[in-house]
Subunit: 219 residues, 2 copies
């Protein structure tokens, strides 16, 4: 613990190395942690390197956000893109989002700087795309677009909130079997699959919602 340490620069840094480091910095220190000199130190180089790869700090920020957006969409697509069953698709999205703590933190950290117009632009796109998946899935479950939008928003809000809870008050989150129970409860509640067969009426929704709590909750 003598100095901030310096990872040896294997060969020669690329712009992408800087972008990755910037994302790392955001995840653990927020948007303001994207500072040229500290990043240079953590990469074991000096500013001289940076200003060869980028014209200024904002360019780095943009590169980092682009990397983030790419990863985000690729990941989601790769994991749930080919799932045919809409129910399972929603489940996968949920689990994926609830499992990857790291990416969750990153999302929250970036979203926290939504006042920055550049950041806001990216958050907008990523959020819209994610919500789009959910919307499609709920429509595939048989909901008309209005109700699908409500349920999709509901589900999205819930998992965003879970991320927040996980970050801010981890003790509130159950672990092990209890966590699985919690997940199951949310699935049953947020994905009323009976609605498809039963036709879509107000009563159907209520039935689906209420029934969700008495199902066998073993394991």
């Amino acid at each position: 613990m003598t100095a901030p340490a310096a990872a040896e620069p294997r060969q020669s840094l690329t712009a992408d190395d800087w972008a990755r480091a910037a994302l790392e910095a955001i995840a653990s220190g927020g948007l303001d942690a994207v500072a040229v000199e500290p990043l240079a130190r953590s990469l074991g180089v000096t500013k001289g390197s940076f200003y060869w790869h980028f014209p200024n700090r904002e360019a780095l920020l943009r590169a980092a956000l682009e990397l983030w957006e790419r990863r985000e969409t690729e990941d989601v697509l790769a994991r749930v893109g080919d799932e045919p069953d809409p129910y399972e698709r929603i489940v996968k999205i949920f689990k994926e989002a609830n499992a990857g703590y790291r990416s969750g933190r990153l999302y929250l950290a970036i979203a926290a700087a939504e006042d920055n117009p550049l950041v806001n632009e990216f958050v907008q796109r990523v959020s819209t795309r994610r919500m789009g998946y959910l919307l499609q899935s709920y429509q595939a479950l048989g909901f008309d677009s209005v109700r699908a939008a409500h349920w999709a928003r509901f589900a999205y809000a819930t998992f965003m909130g879970n991320l927040q809870i996980r970050r801010d008050t981890p003790e509130m989150m159950p672990t092990g079997a209890a966590f699985n129970e919690y997940l199951k409860l949310m699935f049953k509640t947020l994905i009323p699959r009976e609605t498809i067969a039963r036709g879509i009426g107000e009563d159907g929704l209520i039935a689906a919602a209420t029934r969700s709590q008495e199902g066998g909750d073993t394991q």
Copy 2:
């Protein structure tokens, strides 16, 4: 638009004035916006004033957080503390949290800096207290503590997520009648009434619950 403008300092500033200004700053610029010199400018004075009222920046931050915690608990207590019906209590918490956009922004801004130990301490307390209300309410609805914890967490996550959506992608949030529909959907889903009839068996509660379904009044 010549300078950042300066609100005239009515009389003489108090420590509380500074704390209020600091909270304002957090709401619109994040934790880092709590900076002595900028705040002094916005208050129409100089640092000389600040360092009479506070020993340093951290003291201001603490004062702001204390003010926040006080407001937060007072507000919640004042609005839903005396509501006897647990169903209505949950509804009120939800509506309150979903209506006050300002306080929501503030919460998110503060929580975004949970890496700061001081901040984390306060977030912890406020979150725990809020969650406590929900937990009690669900227990009053007839759930055993495990299930009540699950439902409370679920509801809390959902409304935290709604805050986030409202801040980051406001277009996703419906307005007017559609918003009331959305709220109703969440109420019906997150506050299962069946348990009331099964558990406590108070007819009055059921009446109150059904009554609340039609009075959607949250702009």
